[in-house]
């Protein structure tokens, strides 16, 4: 693989749980992100999937340094981003940008599109001299597929998909190298979702971007990602290439997650074996000892409550998996079904 652009090591973010009004006492911690490590290579998309509450959005915030981590480090091109002071941090943010989930609340309703997309240039005046800014904004609008003449409109005059494009244009303004996308398409309708996903792919090719793509929708993540990390209760349980995760998953949680995704093909009903997980995700304030998934796992043994399984390559798994009993399982996502009704490719 090519060089790493982002090196994340043992990232931990705990939020204190306080009790009492006058005499505040910390009674525990929400262990939102607990020891996450991965590398992001240049030009690739790393997908991060997990269910709600697994810490994927906290991870985005910590990576952007919007939140200071409890411990751990993130190196951007060899530089520890948490050791940077204000000026250095501001420079860094030029290279790492964020696209947020909700296009309705992440844009200031009182600012025109031109102001919204042009604001990064105010903060970093050396990127674009004042007289060229308007032109730059119009170029950006065109790049993301919006009409450059709409530069004076307000966010409410745009639809959800268009607003997400504005958010993407704003993230692109400073020509970053890394974009962290936190559920960028989950608020959008199906037909619009595809448009935005195609746009993200096009921009990656055009500008050589690296994405960290955070989402709960496993199909969307598969479509866009080169590598995928699966999170459960603040930890990465399995990480590997898109093929390794979707074709040969070895962690029971990944297997259960994949088996539960509905396939848009009625013929797959017969040969689908959903792995039913019992119970709910435990509270991140008081996660189970040892392996955090053991309370819902059908393979759990005594060792699981004693020892935290490390995220490593085991003899039975060709990619890192955090399970003592990692092994492949046949047919998690059935292909056989797909063959029956391969939709004829239509040329319309």
């Amino acid at each position: 693989m090519t060089e790493s652009i982002l090196e994340v090591r043992d990232l931990v973010k705990y939020y204190p749980v306080n009790r009492g009004v006058v005499f505040k006492k910390t009674v525990g911690h929400v262990q939102a992100v607990d020891g996450v490590s991965f590398d992001l290579h240049k030009g690739e998309t790393l997908g991060v999937v997990g269910e709600s509450g697994c810490g994927k959005s906290t991870l985005a915030k910590v990576l952007m340094h919007l939140e200071h981590p409890t411990s751990g480090s993130v190196h951007y091109k060899g530089q520890d981003i948490y050791k940077l002071r204000a000026g250095g941090l501001r420079k860094l943010r030029r290279n790492i940008q964020l696209v947020m989930q909700d296009p309705y609340t992440s844009l200031n309703p009182r600012m025109t599109v031109g102001d919204l997309i042009g604001e990064p240039f105010e903060i970093h005046p050396d990127v674009a001299p004042k007289d060229s800014r308007r032109r730059k904004v119009q170029e950006l609008l065109e790049v993301v597929g919006l009409n450059p003449e709409h530069i004076n409109r307000y966010p409410h005059q745009f639809s959800g998909g268009q607003r997400q494009r504005i958010g993407i244009a704003r993230a692109l303004a400073l020509r970053p190298e890394v974009i962290v996308c936190d559920e960028p398409v989950s608020a959008l309708d199906v037909s619009i979702q595809a448009q935005v996903m195609n746009l993200l792919e096009k921009l990656q090719d055009e500008f050589g971007l690296s994405y960290i793509f955070i989402a709960h929708d496993l199909s969307v993540v598969r479509h866009l990602s080169d590598r995928v990390a699966v999170m459960y209760l603040g930890k990465i349980v399995e990480i590997g290439t898109e093929d390794e995760i979707y074709e040969r998953p070895t962690h029971p949680y990944t297997q259960a997650l994949l088996s539960a995704v509905p396939v848009p093909d009625p013929n797959s009903r017969k040969n689908k074996a959903i792995i039913r997980l019992t119970g709910d995700v435990p509270s991140p304030t008081n996660p189970p000892s040892g392996c955090r998934f053991r309370t819902r796992c059908w393979k759990a043994q005594e060792i699981c409550s004693r020892e935290v399984p490390l995220l490593e390559v085991r003899s039975s798994s060709d990619h890192p998996s955090a399970c003592h009993f990692a092994e492949k399982r046949e047919i998690v996502v059935s292909h056989e079904a797909g063959d029956l009704t391969d939709l004829p490719t239509r040329t319309l």
Binding site: A194, M197, R222, V263, A337
Partner: protein
């Protein structure tokens, strides 16, 4: 017609309960009178549901799928919403002509509804047991004690562990999936013949979604209910539906049984939808998109509402509204070129 399948017959009807057609919506029209003008939200929707059958109503936001359900339940906000035409027949009686007292009797016992957001649909200041038991007290005249026992049974039926203790808890003490189970228990309390589920799993995680959909399917089979599943998720639909009605801009653009619809869609919008979803069982597939945006309901395009986004639009499309043309015993499409589309492949 080579591609016509016979729809699956519902399994043996439950004893003592009329089988066959339960609910029929015919040419329903609803508009919202807003400050900005009249939004034609539903423009002639016709569908029906039989006992033991699952009808999926598929559509994107603003297609009118939820408003149709609200109109059936009689919980449409008036104003701004007004029914301007059509019929909703439950056991051949038009509900729109009934008195509010008659309609109230149908709600819960005849037709019940599960909402998307269980947290806001449940009352936060009463225990879930009280809220479920309320129906038995008010509608069945049961005592407090008996109704509470029945409520616990209901929670047990939707597989909530420790039902006897949990009826004394409040909605916020339940997780998202459990809350949706409570909602289902509540809607099934009076044993309705038709259940309308409006995006019941949209707010839930995939593993929980699978549990809830299984539960709904089991309960439906047991009770031989007619189920109207409103959703935008083509994956969920493929898993559970018998028939599908695809809605766009307040109209049904295609209706078909589930196998026909996925194998051989007969409307360009359905084709576009199917091609624009990423599939978990395929890699590296090219996503096609439907160009443009769904229309504003204040200004629905003339003729076929889909024509500005349609890749096969012809001069006739903006001129004439295509009728929902029957193409076979179980399928219909509202496209001028539906027959050509079906033959293609």
């Amino acid at each position: 017609m080579s591609n016509v399948y016979v729809a699956d017959q519902p399994e043996t009807a439950r004893e003592g309960r009329p089988s066959g057609r339960l609910l029929e919506v015919e040419d329903l029209r609803v508009e919202f009178r807003t400050r900005d003008g009249v939004a034609k939200v539903i423009n002639g929707v016709t569908y029906h549901v039989d006992a033991g059958e699952t009808l999926a109503v598929l559509g994107e936001s603003g297609s009118g799928k939820s408003v149709t359900a609200q109109t059936i339940m009689g919980i449409l906000d008036t104003p701004p919403g007004f029914v301007t035409g059509g019929q909703i027949r439950f056991h051949d009686k038009d509900m729109l002509q009934m008195s509010s007292e008659e309609r109230r009797r149908i709600r819960g016992e005849g037709i019940a509804m599960v909402f998307q957001d269980a947290l806001s649909a449940l009352n936060p200041v009463f225990t879930v047991g009280f809220q479920i038991a309320e129906q038995f007290r008010v509608r069945r005249g049961m005592s407090r004690r008996d109704s509470k026992i029945r409520a616990a049974e209901m929670l047990d039926q939707v597989q909530i562990p420790n039902a006897k203790q949990r009826i004394n808890e409040y909605p916020h003490q339940f997780s998202g999936g459990m809350r949706q189970r409570v909602m289902i228990a509540m809607s099934l309390a009076l044993d309705p013949e038709v259940l309308i589920a409006d995006e019941p799993t949209t707010a839930l995680d995939v593993t929980v979604q699978a549990q809830i959909m299984d539960l709904l399917a089991d309960l439906q089979r047991e009770r031989q209910m007619g189920l109207i599943l409103i959703t935008h998720d083509l994956g969920v639909v493929a898993d559970v539906a018998d028939r599908i009605a695809v809605m766009y801009a307040g109209r049904i653009v295609e209706e078909a049984n589930v196998h026909e619809l996925y194998a051989n869609p007969a409307h360009p919008y359905t084709i576009g939808l199917l091609e624009s979803i990423p599939r978990i069982d395929e890699k590296g597939q090219q996503l096609r998109t439907i160009r443009g945006l769904p229309p504003s309901l204040l200004k629905i395009p003339s003729g076929c509402p889909f024509h500005p986004r349609c890749p096969m639009a012809q001069p006739i499309c903006p001129e004439k509204v295509p009728p929902l043309l029957q193409l076979g015993p179980t399928r219909a499409s509202a496209c001028h070129f539906a027959e050509e589309l079906v033959k293609r492949d």
